[in-house]
């Protein structure tokens, strides 16, 4: 992975990005439905290891939410942020404190956790937002270390020191207590689906475009009327709010949180997920979460050396596919009349963006247009 301050899309002359296969809506819906049936199937199969695999999927889902939020900062805005665990930690501890000390029901702490993480991000990112590339990277590592040390030292007497806080209540949804892995499966993966839909909308908006302009050329972006500092800061805050939400879910699931859960290596994992999966691509990040969080579990057969095998796989990946496994495809726009018949509407894209099959759907409707199908069927994005 390159640490130069600017890593926009593939360099000229590199092989074209892989086409993002766009599944028809029914196939997507079926895929999502099948996915959400996994717990039922695992249960019926009567495997003794069912809860274990559900737990693995839950971890994957939680990291998917975190990585999707990091993707806004790292993937879209192109800022090398390696301290995402700090925002995650703020969310988790806010939930723990509000639940244990103030008696709030766990899921009610969600907005507070997001808000606190977002505020924290606004405060710490403000002074460093102008830093570029590796400089920003180093400072964000500092942030996550500061948080970890503060938590370990029982800051404000609220964080419980090295042992952390324990005994966080089980969450309830409409009176239903969420206790077992299969319950958490639905809570977590529903959150993943919501995140995917919302971040897709963000990508196709004025704000999402602004981040991509900034990533591609910050000087040109500022020179054409985009307030780069403001948008970079907003990207940080949005990413942090989401990481804070994930913190609430994490606290609810683990019931015990301690500073060790939010150390630097967690941040590195999240960074890896985004870069490996495909910076800026939601489905890439989702795939990355499966690979980085799920694959090591499959490699358990290698026992001690499983992380070594995993590391080797990563190295090979980065050599042969530095843009990530599923890099983002070009944004598709459907022109409003009278432009919808503009020459080159569909055909040009295929040749030009080197994808081919991607938008081969045709001139009439490259898929997610600005004014198009409003949020319908988006929940299957990325699978």
């Amino acid at each position: 992975m390159s640490f130069s301050p600017s890593v926009p899309g593939p360099p000229a002359g590199s092989p074209p990005a892989a086409p993002e296969a766009r599944l028809p809506l029914p196939a997507k819906a079926a895929g999502v439905a099948a996915f959400f049936l996994i717990p039922v199937v695992l249960q019926k199969a009567g495997l003794g290891s069912a809860p274990y695999w559900l737990d693995v999927l839950n971890t994957v889902g939680l990291y998917a939410i975190l990585a999707l939020s990091l993707n806004v900062i790292l993937g879209h805005a192109g800022m090398f942020h390696m301290g995402h665990a700090a925002f995650f930690a703020v969310g988790a501890y806010v939930t723990a404190v509000l639940n244990l000390d103030c008696g709030w029901p766990v899921l009610w702490t969600l907005p507070a956790a997001g808000l606190a993480a977002g505020l924290f991000a606004a405060v710490v990112a403000g002074p460093i937002i102008h830093l570029r590339g590796d400089y920003l990277l180093i400072v964000t590592i500092g942030i996550v270390e500061i948080i970890r040390i503060a938590l370990t030292n029982d800051v404000f007497g609220l964080t419980g020191g090295p042992n952390g806080r324990m005994g966080i209540a089980r969450p309830t949804v409409f009176g239903f207590r969420i206790t077992r892995p299969q319950h958490f499966f639905y809570l977590i993966w529903f959150s993943v689906a919501v995140s995917l839909v919302l971040f897709r909308r963000l990508e196709l908006s004025r704000f999402g475009r602004a981040l991509r302009f900034i990533k591609e050329d910050p000087v040109a972006a500022e020179g054409i009327g985009i307030n780069t500092s403001r948008h970079k800061l907003l990207a940080f805050v949005i990413g942090a709010v989401w990481a804070g939400f994930a913190g609430t879910i994490y606290a609810a699931r683990m019931r015990t949180i301690s500073p060790d859960s939010f150390n630097f290596s967690e941040s590195v994992l999240l960074f890896t997920i985004v870069i490996l999966g495909g910076s800026g691509s939601r489905r890439g990040v989702l795939l990355g979460s499966f690979l980085v969080m799920g694959l090591p579990e499959l490699f358990r057969g290698f026992q001690e050396s499983r992380l070594l095998v995993f590391g080797a796989a990563l190295v090979v990946m980065m050599i042969f596919r530095p843009q990530g496994l599923l890099p983002p495809g070009p944004a598709a726009y459907m022109l409003p009349p009278p432009w919808d018949g503009a020459p080159g509407a569909g055909g040009a894209r295929n040749g030009a963006f080197g994808g081919g099959a991607d938008e081969a759907g045709g001139a009439g409707g490259p898929s997610p247009p600005a004014g198009g199908p409003a949020g319908t069927g988006t929940s299957g994005e990325g699978r």
Partner: protein, 255 residues
Amino acid sequence: MLLLSLNNVTKTFGGLVAVAGFSAGVERGQTVGLIGPNGAGKTTVFNIVTGSIKPDAGFVFFAGHSISSLRPSRIVELGIARTFQTVRLFPHMSVLENVLSGRHCRMRAGIAAAFLRLPEQRREERAVLSAAMEELDFVGLAGKWNLPAGALPYGDQRRLEIARALATEPRLLILDEPAGGMNDRETAELTGLVAAVKARDITVMLIEHDMGFVMKVCDRVVVMENGALIAEGTPDEIRLNPKVIEAYLGPDEEG
């Protein structure tokens, strides 16, 4: 009334004085050429006007605002758009998206509106696509809207830069060597394009070394040398100005 005025603007880089007490004004509706030998400080003046460089001394006023301390994006909002001396598009993004970048400052939708996909936000997105396509049509690139900007031929890239700048709805358009690197045919097309921009009641200020082009499109010409203004007038006046001839051809020694 002057749309843009520079008062005693000075900028030094290290020991080098790039712009020294430069004052000039641009009236609304004019097309003004800024010329001078290499290193005269022309691009520095443009960078000061567009906010990417802050002057050490002096002031820049645009339509009643003092803009010399504002950030570039704010200056674009006030109505000054620019193109760059070397093409500076977003090469991996489509031609259309490049123009959309210019519409950004005229849009309102925020993050919440995008998350909720409010009707207003969707309306705005539709309107902005139309507006962007109109600008592409204006420069003759509508048929290439879906190509990556980096895949366009050089002349098209320059025109796309102009379309992107026009998308910001500028009152003053600043072109830094728009004909640089263009062949005769492309330059002739550019002459027509600048005239069309002017017909939209947009004031134009440009740096250009192609004197034929400058004399053809400009109403007034400002000449700089060593960071200072040495002459100002209509193209005909400038053509005959001895100081300008000296600046370009050197002092009249051997006759």
